[in-house]
């Protein structure tokens, strides 16, 4: 399920939460996110996954990685977290939790996103989470996480 997001201003408008500007390399990631699917970039030369896609493959160092985005389960565990009480970005309701999550399907691959369980959630290292999505606009959803125990 997508999460209803309350905003002072609409995402992508002045004062609103930032929305991603798709580009040639990222559009498949955001297309997947819009369908509430978390995808990672796979190098077509070595088959290893990364996020975000870089100019070269960080694993095999090819200059022509021709990344394709492939779905992952979205499951992972918490490597760190912080409660943001003062955001340098606009459009977020404070406070909120950021988690640094290592994905179960790709050991070592970590991404930072919001934890939607709220600041009162009791957290610890290694806690299992699963991907969730925040619907910012009609065609734009961004990845977040939820505690697996609550999902």
């Amino acid at each position: 399920m997508g999460e209803a997001v309350q905003h002072r201003a609409l995402p992508g408008t002045p004062g609103g939460r930032p929305v991603p500007m798709r580009d040639e390399q990222s559009s498949a990631f955001w297309d997947a996110a819009a369908r509430h699917v978390l995808a990672v970039a796979k190098c077509t030369k070595c088959g290893q996954a990364t996020l975000p896609p870089d100019v070269t493959c960080p694993h095999c160092l090819t200059t022509e990685p021709e990344f394709t985005f492939e779905p992952v389960s979205g499951r992972g565990h918490i490597r760190s977290w912080t409660i943001i009480r003062r955001s340098f970005l606009q459009g977020f309701d404070l406070p909120f939790v950021l988690v640094d999550v290592e994905l179960a399907d790709v050991p070592g691959l970590r991404m930072i996103a919001r934890l939607l369980d709220g600041p009162a959630a009791k957290l610890s290292l290694g806690l299992a989470v699963t991907a969730a999505f925040e619907d910012l606009t009609a065609d734009c959803s961004v990845p977040a996480f939820r505690l697996e125990s609550a999902a």
């Binding site: 930032p18 970005l89 459009g91 290292l125 961004v142």
Partner: protein
């Protein structure tokens, strides 16, 4: 490089000047830079006409997307040379993070190679109007699209994630960090040009301060300031004919990222791994390890970075830095403690980047620290940024 630094102790710092460090400037940064440069040149016993090299790192660190204007919000080497009326033979800058170690390596090599005889090395920091790190982006493009839509942006959140990973892994507390921050502010409060001169912080004030990005509060971050520091570098041989006791450069080591992740996603493991490589490099180049240094001055742009530097330099075991801090083990007034932030650092002086660390090494090793002068100090290490992007420069007051 496979072996020891060939120019070890062949390059020296011959003089310095530090402007007052203020929250907001009342005049253009370039004017302060010109005056501070003139003071440093005079302090080294030289005249402007003798300076033939300029090295700096003209980055404005504000994250708000402000544009940089040379002479107003940054001061480049070429700008400073021109505005001192010098037709420099060598005027270059370092682009990257870890500006002080990076630009110092350029300056050191220029003296060692003979590219310049006398180098004016400077760092000028500007605090632009408005909120320093706020970013009004409503569309996140390029590398920002992988972080900002998900709520992650800026160095404070980045450092808080790294720090909380440390806290959770090793049981570090805000009480331990209070002792580190109070130590930095105690030392900064003794330095006349510091933005925090005469303004120490108490443990209670630290603990009562609300967090901004848990477990960090504003006292864990250095305050944006306006200020200029200048040093004069020359060969060890020439420095011996100048008025101040020379401080020689034993070598330097840089650190680099070991992992590919989203912008500002710096993990504890990456800092530790990059730090181990950096420490090995320091040993290869200088024959010094962290525990050999009398005066390690560790970077504290965010307070937890001091823990990380302490551990990668082997000043304590992994995960032990917070215990050492809590037990008074970094109290510069305590015999037997490791004075890792005796110069006040960035938290105790204001956001002069790695300058307070470099300046403390210079002042103590040249015997010019006044009331704060420490006894029996022959080696210093000035660290800047974090080990995965920054570096360190080793100093000695013994030639050869």
């Amino acid at each position: 490089m496979s072996g020891a630094f060939k120019a070890r102790n062949q390059v020296a710092v011959a003089g310095f000047a530090q402007s007052p460090i203020v929250r907001r400037a009342t005049r253009p940064l370039g004017a302060t830079a010109v005056e501070t440069a003139l003071q440093a040149i005079a302090d080294a016993g030289l005249t402007v006409g003798q300076i033939d090299g300029f090295v700096s790192s003209p980055l404005m660190p504000a994250m708000g997307g402000q544009s940089a204007v040379d002479g107003l919000s940054t001061v480049s080497s070429a700008w400073l040379a021109q505005h001192l009326g010098v037709d420099a033979s060598y005027a270059v800058g370092f682009a990257g993070i870890g500006q002080i170690a990076g630009s110092m390596s350029i300056a050191i090599n220029a003296i060692a190679s003979g590219a310049a005889d006398y180098i004016l090395f400077h760092r000028a920091l500007h605090n632009p109007p408005g909120k320093y790190n706020d970013n009004a982006m409503s569309v996140a493009s390029g590398t920002d699209q992988w972080i900002a839509p998900m709520g992650f942006y800026g160095a404070l959140a980045s450092a808080a994630l790294t720090y909380n990973e440390y806290c959770q892994r090793y049981g570090a507390t805000r009480e331990a960090m209070a002792s580190l921050v109070v130590e930095a502010r105690k030392n900064g409060a003794r330095i006349p040009w510091s933005a925090w001169y005469g303004k120490p912080l108490t443990v209670k004030e630290y603990l009562d301060e609300p967090t901004l990005a848990d477990p960090m509060c504003r006292y864990d971050a250095d305050m944006p300031v306006e200020g200029v520091a200048c040093f004069v570098l020359t060969s060890a041989e020439r420095a011996r004919d100048l008025p101040n006791k020379p401080v020689y450069i034993a070598g330097y080591a840089q650190g680099y990222p070991t992992e590919h992740r989203a912008k500002m996603h710096w993990t504890l493991d990456e800092m530790t791994e990059a730090g181990a490589r950096l420490h090995q490099r320091l040993w290869n180049v200088t024959g010094l390890r962290g525990q050999d240094i009398d005066l390690p001055q560790l970077y504290d742009g965010f307070s937890p970075f001091v823990y990380i530097w302490m551990e990668v330099l082997g000043l304590c075991g992994p995960g032990e830095a917070h215990q050492l801090a809590l037990a008074g083990g970094i109290d510069s007034d305590r015999p037997g403690a490791i004075p890792v932030i005796s110069g006040g650092g960035a938290i105790g002086n204001g956001r002069m980047h790695g300058i307070p660390q470099m300046l403390e090494c210079y002042l103590q090793l040249s015997g010019r620290a006044g009331d704060r002068q420490r006894a029996n100090v022959t080696t210093g290490l000035a660290c800047h940024s974090t080990p995965n992007f920054g570096g360190c420069v080793a100093y000695s007051n013994e030639p050869g």
